[in-house]
Amino acid sequence: MLTYAIKRAALAALILFVVMLAMYGMVFLVPGDPASVALGPRATPALKAMLTERMGLDQPVAVQIWRFFANAAQGDLGIDVWSKRPVLDQILEAFPQTLLLGTVALSWALTLGITVGVLAVVYRGTFIDRALGLVSVSFISVPSFVVAIYLLLIFAVWLQWLPAIGAGKAGDIPSQIKALILPSIAVGIGWVGYLARMVRASMLEIMAANHIRTARAFGLPERRVVTRYALRLAIVPTISVIAVGLGSILSSAVFVETVFSRPGIGTLITGAVFKRNYPVVMGTVLFTTAFYLLVITCADLLIAKLDPRVRDALAR
């Protein structure tokens, strides 16, 4: 188990290194130097020289790459070329917002998704099962940014029940909760369908297992068999799905945050992309990738701990 954990951590670190090296390499493959590309038509020689120096482009490529990794390892992701603020500060300011949005979205999606999945199993083969299946597929395939814009149109522009932009006033919890409702629906809606289908599929598989037959043979009511015995096992695979799905939560957060002008990782990186703000983009990509790798590695370890079959397979 310990060797497995070390192996996984080493692999994650290696992947992170390869990714960042590739990203960094790409900057140098592009025709024209990053400083004049970032400045665009505004580039005057003086401005260009200043930016070149600030981005560290006057150093040899190897030195630049070495510096980037050496600094990143110490938690220094460089300085925003435009605002001169440290990139890490901006990320640490934005990240909790995105984390909050993702957590809230996922929590209600989990509750609703598992409920729908269990309902579909209880009523399997009936009209209700098929209707829930159709709803789940529709939820999965509808793009989150379209959902976000439609919600904005209905609840913020037409009905004016909820705010259209921002994350609420600082310190004013009710306004923050109000500002969170629409974005979290837009981020979570796909997950409801996805989780419902997953729970349904894995539960149907489990329902054929011996211990379920035993539970039924004891005369336990079907409802109890489903919720107490089948659901428990069906939850385990959702852990890895949620962990891997963190990437897609980040993706939808980028869109949804932009639609609702919510501060967060999404608005931070899209704003930086527009301005060709390399340090912010690279820093955000490095940070989110590292976080993502951390989560999937932890999820794999957690599953190995929870599921004796996986644990035994690793011990062998």
Binding site: P143, I149, V157, I269, T284, V285, Y292
Partner: protein, 284 residues
């Protein structure tokens, strides 16, 4: 021999209401894309500043945008943009994926290990962050958009082909080919490829709506197809900026996006059920 099986699958698809709906929606979408110049009542780029942000009328069925361009025409041409980008990107990614997958599955062990590491690295990136990083470096545009899709999708396709190749490389018919001295390219392209192509095709077609969504999403962020080229994402953005004065544009731009992705998903689900032998035999 293939025909009866295919017509049976098609009939099963049409009998399934979800599959039928998917088939109808996808056919409409493709028709819109192919026949755009015939179907569109106006030039999608023609400006008419006097008729800006109009509500639906007989002259403009879905109204007009900020520059007085006909929304219906722009949406019809948007289907063309979406389909062109999706087919180009998926075709490219599929071809490269096949090549890399065959190399990884059939080539030397070290090359396999190296390629798998690269696939894993690409796969373990949060997709959107990776896309935005590439766009920052190369600048937004249709070319960048296609490159992003290709880079993001290759690992999945290559892994699939690799896994299939690995299981087939020691099959009798491949060993027999090696024994009679067939060249490696011949074995790969003539004997392995036809056997690994089927499963890939299903995955490729299921990715079309994902690419349509990504194209629209990035274009909505102004990081995809450059305006004034009509793209559903661009139209959606125009609608979003005018959301307080006119809601027609944003509703009209979102609807085809939802319908197209739903259509492809329903069709994919329906096809899977229709083609899955376990499913068809289980049914009475």
């Amino acid at each position: 021999m293939r025909w009866p099986a295919n017509t049976r699958a098609l009939r099963a698809l049409i009998r399934d209401p979800m599959g039928l709906m998917g088939l109808v929606l996808v056919t409409l979408f493709i028709l819109m894309a192919v026949a755009a110049p015939i179907l569109a009542p106006y030039d999608p780029l023609a400006l008419d500043v006097r008729a800006k942000l109009q509500s639906p009328s007989l002259a403009h069925w879905l109204g007009t945008d900020q520059l007085g361009r006909d929304t219906l025409s722009r949406i019809i041409y948007g289907a063309r943009t979406a389909l062109t980008i999706a087919l180009t990107a998926i075709g490219l990614a599929g071809s490269i994926g096949i090549l890399l997958g065959l190399i990884a599955g059939y080539g030397p062990r070290w090359l396999d290990a190296a390629l798998v590491l690269i696939f894993d690295a690409l796969n373990s990136l949060p997709m959107m962050m990776f896309a935005l990083a590439i766009i920052t470096v190369l600048g937004p545009g249709t070319g960048t958009l296609i490159l992003v899709v290709v880079l993001v999708s290759i690992p999945g396709y290559a892994r699939l082909i690799r896994a299939q190749t690995l299981t087939l490389r020691s099959a009798d018919f491949i060993v027999a080919e090696q024994a009679i001295g067939a060249s490696t390219p011949r074995i790969l392209l003539m004997h392995l490829l036809p056997n690994v192509f089927g499963p890939l095709c299903i995955v490729l077609s299921m990715d079309i709506p994902v690419v349509i969504m990504l194209e629209a999403g990035l274009s909505y962020l102004n990081l995809g197809v450059k305006p004034p080229t009509p793209s559903w994402g661009n139209i959606l953005y125009d609608g979003y900026t005018a959301i307080r004065t006119s809601s027609t544009l944003v509703i009209a731009a979102g609807a085809p996006l939802v319908l197209a992705t739903l259509g492809f998903t329903f069709l994919g689900e329906g096809l899977r059920d229709a083609l899955d032998p376990r499913f068809t035999t289980a049914r009475p």
